[in-house]
């Protein structure tokens, strides 16, 4: 059954050849990671993540497979929700609002790795919000350059070039060999 047919014929949910529930289970951790990386606030990230999935569920029949992947569609909705939240709060993420990280440094972690992690964190903190947005879509969301381009409304080459520059900036800041 084609994606469009699943979308329209399955009565409850259907997006891109899988049910909406399948999409949720596959994408939830990445959507949360992306939103949290962008907002840098745990409670706001939880609320926006829930909003994003709710909006996506209500608009599931508007998904058009020919316009892009389901992930790009979903992350577009999540991005809009996150940007709306940012506008509403009218504040930028600060280092003080770092989300809790399950992989945070523990006392047992090697000191060098801890120092290295801090270097990466500091480099990330220097990013502008729009740069952080791209990096989050790539690393938090796990989207391809084509999907990122679809989400931000740019060409694939433009998205790839911007992403490359940001990563290079981070690598330089981290003194990567």
């Amino acid at each position: 059954m084609s994606e469009a047919a699943l979308l329209t014929e399955t009565p409850v949910t259907s997006v891109s050849g899988e049910t909406f529930e399948d999409l949720y289970r596959r994408a939830f951790p990445r959507v949360y990671a992306y939103v949290a990386s962008l907002l840098r606030d745990t409670s706001a990230a939880e609320e926006v993540t829930a909003q994003a999935f709710e909006r996506a569920y209500r608009k599931r029949r508007t998904f058009k497979p020919g316009l892009g992947s389901a992930d790009a569609w979903l992350f577009g909705i999540a991005r809009n929700a996150a940007l709306d939240e940012l506008r509403r709060l009218k504040r930028r993420a600060s280092l003080e609002a770092e989300p809790e990280d399950a992989a945070a440094v523990t006392a047992d972690e090697h000191a060098e790795r801890a120092l290295t992690r801090e270097t990466v964190r500091a480099a990330l903190a220097t990013l502008e919000p729009h740069e952080r947005d791209l990096v989050a879509l790539k690393y938090s969301g796990g989207l391809s350059n084509a999907e990122i381009a679809r989400v931000i409304g740019a060409s694939e080459s433009n998205a790839g070039t911007r992403l490359h520059r940001i990563v290079e900036k981070l690598r330089k800041a981290c003194d990567v060999a």
Binding site: F28, E54, P99, P129
Partner: protein, 358 residues
Amino acid sequence: MSPDTFTELLQEELTPTPDPAFAREMDEWAAAGFPRRDAQQRTPKPRRRLRAGAWLRSPLGMATATSAVAAAAIAAVLIGDTVEQGTTGGDATTPALTQESAAEPSGTASDDAGRMVVPAPTPGGGIAPGERDRRIERSAQLTLAAPADDFQSVADRVLRVTDSHDGFVLRSQVSTGDHPTGDFQLRIPADRLQPALRDLSELGDVRARSDTGQDVTREYVSVTDRLDAARAERRALLRRLASATDDGRIQELRDRLDRNERELAPLRAQVRDLRERTNYAAVSVTLTEGGSSASDDDDGAGAGGIGDALDDSLGLLVGSLAWLLRALGVLIPAGIVAALAWWSARTIRRRRREAVLF
């Protein structure tokens, strides 16, 4: 730092995991089929009432409003052009004539004693500024085809129709035989021209029809002004003659009266001619052999009936196509404008949203 370490740490920093309680809550919500979340669970947001202003600012609202304005503007231009075309030339001047032509079927000298009738302005009748009334010389040509076995009957009906519209036959010539022909020169009151043409057209198959109008108002006004001036001079001369006592003076006045009369006569004739030409339309009717027989007219299955039906169908089809083209002429530009408005609104909305990132 090695590239691998950098990438690994970057990935770790950018993939925070959700709180287990939150993840559990989301899983339960998904398992329940994504019901609407309780209002208390949602972030309090300002209540967004669907106000006209907010809707108009949305992409759909902007597109709808813009397309409506564009469609109205285009339709107004089209309607204005149509009205303008409908009021120029043709029958628009006929109403201006109906109010006075019936009283003056033949312009005689005694009719000229009174002042000219000045009709009240009629809507669209177009009394030109500075003109006392308008005079249009109208003429029409009609070619009818009638079957040979009905030819004489049709010719007779031409005369009856003319008479029924208070017209008269200036000249007629009908020849019957193998190739019958008929030629009529009619004079129909100008205000009865169109009804008369309609009735005449029903007598046979119309092969050709035309009607023309020529505005001779200026000529008419010029002639009548000269006539008025000549009459005024005559009255003045007559008054002087009545009070003259000197023989020489009397003779001089009589000579001038003679000259005035010689001037008046042709002017009266010109006015009479112009009135006749404008009060009555010249209609030329030509009868030729052909068309459906009269006996077939009652039979709906006759060739004429089918031909008329085909003509009507074609006319309807052409009319429908013309209407469709006009509608497209409005809808396509309006649609383009609406699409541009929708795209602009969407772009503005996106940029406004992303402005927070910059």
